[in-house]
Symmetry: D2
Subunit: 256 residues, 4 copies
Amino acid sequence: MQETIKPGDLILLATEEGKTYLVYAEKKAFQTHKDSFDLGLLLGHPWGTRLKGQKGTYCFALRPTLHDHLMKLKRVTQIIYPKDIGYILLKLDIGPGKVVLECGTGSGALLLALAHSVGPSGKVITYEKEKRFQEVALSNAKRVGLLDRIVFKDIAVNTFEEEEEIDAVFLDLKTPWELLPAAWKALKGGAPLGILLPTTNQVSETLKQLQQLPFTQTEVVELFIRFYKTNPQRLRPEDRMVGHTGFLIFSRKYLP
Amino acid sequence: MQETIKPGDLILLATEEGKTYLVYAEKKAFQTHKDSFDLGLLLGHPWGTRLKGQKGTYCFALRPTLHDHLMKLKRVTQIIYPKDIGYILLKLDIGPGKVVLECGTGSGALLLALAHSVGPSGKVITYEKEKRFQEVALSNAKRVGLLDRIVFKDIAVNTFEEEEEIDAVFLDLKTPWELLPAAWKALKGGAPLGILLPTTNQVSETLKQLQQLPFTQTEVVELFIRFYKTNPQRLRPEDRMVGHTGFLIFSRKYLP
Amino acid sequence: MQETIKPGDLILLATEEGKTYLVYAEKKAFQTHKDSFDLGLLLGHPWGTRLKGQKGTYCFALRPTLHDHLMKLKRVTQIIYPKDIGYILLKLDIGPGKVVLECGTGSGALLLALAHSVGPSGKVITYEKEKRFQEVALSNAKRVGLLDRIVFKDIAVNTFEEEEEIDAVFLDLKTPWELLPAAWKALKGGAPLGILLPTTNQVSETLKQLQQLPFTQTEVVELFIRFYKTNPQRLRPEDRMVGHTGFLIFSRKYLP
Amino acid sequence: MQETIKPGDLILLATEEGKTYLVYAEKKAFQTHKDSFDLGLLLGHPWGTRLKGQKGTYCFALRPTLHDHLMKLKRVTQIIYPKDIGYILLKLDIGPGKVVLECGTGSGALLLALAHSVGPSGKVITYEKEKRFQEVALSNAKRVGLLDRIVFKDIAVNTFEEEEEIDAVFLDLKTPWELLPAAWKALKGGAPLGILLPTTNQVSETLKQLQQLPFTQTEVVELFIRFYKTNPQRLRPEDRMVGHTGFLIFSRKYLP
């Protein structure tokens, strides 16, 4: 049974040139810089419907994927990028039913991906010290409809003290080495730890501390993504690319 | 409650230098090229336990993650790599409860990742023409315990004819352009399509065909992963890296 | 003996934050967006002198290197980048005394590098069809003082007909495959050919034609350059990088 | 006038699949793993000649370029790679007539490139502490015919004390920061300094020291090279690539 667009649904409105907008389904005109689209015409029509604008261009009413939401997130901090998020999910073994801990929450990009992947039977506990970031992340999670499986906590109040038998921990803050003993305590035996860091100095410092603790199978990686222009007769990479987001460290807790 | 290792459990046995072995928990000695480990000592102990070998080196008894399983897969074909799998899962919006279609199955690396992510409430329908590949993929899925949500089909018998309202389609075969109309028919409106291809010529050909069909928001990307040596005093990338696995194409079905 | 800055000398004026300007030594104030520098104070002083501005910031009076000139070139076309130029010089075996042929001239970036490397005893013959580009390249070469070893020709008039026993040929135009027989004729036996192309389709077409001709040891490569921020306490790559300039093809003429 | 192959000439013998061998022209059979070639047949024939083997395969008699020599160098140390050498030559502004200083010599790869580029009117002064490396570098330079412009010195005896007004300095040793004051003293005002380092820790340490000295316009870069398979119908990058050689630092001396 085809699902149709209902009033209040979030729509990813995508133009022919690939510009995208996150809009609510309602009886209202939506103005891009090139054309005007009557969103009311979409109501009751199936997802994926092509809509003609007043000036004759087209846009497409797509149901937003998690990736779409990540690209449209309200941001108050640098977010973790999809190229990194995909790999993090895999290395942390995230899946339905898992209980995951992250610190800090930031704008909530990784948080949403974790919450999406653990499903309704899983849980994501996310620590942050900045009230302001937490509020933005909460509002982002609400919009995507993932609040039911997220627990927000304040890292200034406690350092994972009440957590135990956690399936995976991810640290995204300036001095993750300070939280390594607490992360170790919270994790299940053998469970994966992930860390994101922008500078080589932080990576060195973190590796030094990891060596002092019962962690093993430590890896440091960097991911690159390269976009291509999609003209089949003139296939070539884009002129510019992201040169750096961060280094990723992964490790596993062991019981000495 | 800490879970303990039981007879018959699959263990990722990891040495201090990072060599890993997939073994079954049983009363038996396991020989690496450097030491010998009495696996029987692990029974009844928690996951993550460190085990001393006869010659005094250590190994760690880790519960295998999906990523570990992917690295240890029985292979009869070139497999899709974790760097690509993580991004594919994100772009195809895979998560608990989704119904996904892939063709071809190959050794089943992406299949396992899809099956892991859709969870017990989801489904992966995987098409293949080589009986031999299908058998290997089936045995790989069985070992990881994901068979319950996978349906194996033969692409030589039918081309997605019975599929409809599919949440995402992934094509990993030499001539994906031939399956684009069938993929379009099977997909939900607005739903994502993914394709992996090794050569630029295949990318051009696929892009040409995508342009003829009601697909939009087409992207071509390439992902790189770079591993670092983990000595904190001598941090540096590894000397060698994987130079190419494949180009990824993503697109979205629309309703004209 | 230290050389000093004389009136009329070209100076690379570099600020503390790394902004650079190509200016002539003369009694005149030079205005950056942050400060004002009295260039007259540099006359008679050695190269490398630090100059204090009116507002107390510093700039440095550097003798422009070839690389500096390339970055400051007057451009009417996309230029070949230093990362590619360095490798081209090496693969084409450019050095003092060599006779090199290139087509097209464009803005003259590679031309200047070739002319610089062959020295006063060498020669660069450069073909172009656009009068306008040729004029810009000529004025660029004049400014750098390399005109004595450059011969400008019009590819619309003849196709390397008068050239023979050339040490190396470089082709930088849209349809290099059309010039391969002429390039072959012009080259010495065993001598290297280089080609720059932006798209994979052009690379495929060129490779197809090279296979039909007495060329051997064909290589296709791509070069990337990644810049780092230079804070020693926060060492990390720059956020953005150039994602693509072009593919390089190299081959060698043989005598069948 | 076509030059011909004379007895004693060094030939790069290249097979159809791209295997290469550096051999001397003489009346002798040369055995590859696939065929046998009568080198005597090449004498008196022009460079670039194709030679048929006993089993019907072909090889090509190419005059070795500098790049060919670098790939065939006798190595006692890790050598600097062509991708880096090309860029180093450009950033150090190497060209005919320049006087360049390098430390350490190693196997002499960069040394040969520098000596080739400065031509007979230039000079390369190369410091090394290991007698054994120096001897290998000397024999490599002799074979390529570049000894006339090279001066070998022992860094254990003196630290550039007798050098002044040098056009460019390159440092390739473990602790380049110790030589920065000596390099500064040896350089011309405004002249470029280059440094190669494998680890990020060394880069940080060097940057720290550079900041203490009258050096400006400091850059840190990394270069990647990616080779493609040359089948025009199946164009794609090679499966494996070099992941890391070293980080390059460039800076310029100023006069405070």
